[in-house]
Amino acid sequence: MDTQELIRSQVTGNPVVLYMKGSPKFPQCGFSNLATQILNACNVEYVAIDVLADQNIREGIKTYANWPTIPQLYINGEFIGGSDIMRAMYESGELQTLLNATK
């Protein structure tokens, strides 16, 4: 399976997927840390994929959504945004609505 196919199967096979640097317990970047805190505040289960553990995914994910930075959040296979957008959508309540629909 090539990397783009692998990413597609990850984001469509799980309702909520976060690509991040490090793990939710040990985030390796402030923006990834912020993303996990937002998801924790939403009280939702999610799959976290550490891009530092796989160079192919680290580069491939940038192409997949035409988005050059990490973290990246996907809900039901759809790219939602990076940490700035997650924060804005959390503050407006939009993110909670989207996430609640996956429960």
Binding site: N66, W67, P68, G81, G82, D84
Partner: protein
Amino acid sequence: MLSAQQLETYITQNLACDYIKVLGDDGTHFEAVIVSPEFVGKTMVKQHQLVYAALGDRMRAEIHALSMQTLTPEAWLKLQANN
């Protein structure tokens, strides 16, 4: 080292901005407020993608982190009226 001022120039060269302010003095982490008529009618994802596109390869090579707030001219006026 990349300065916030240079980053502003890079963005405005490829994206028409009504207002732009980039902050950050460590050469790799930046925060930006960007107001552009190009953002009208676009989702936040599309707005950020326009800024990334304006930066092109620099986004992968030189810039580690760019936190941004993108606003349409209308949203910008509203924000200023409220402040």
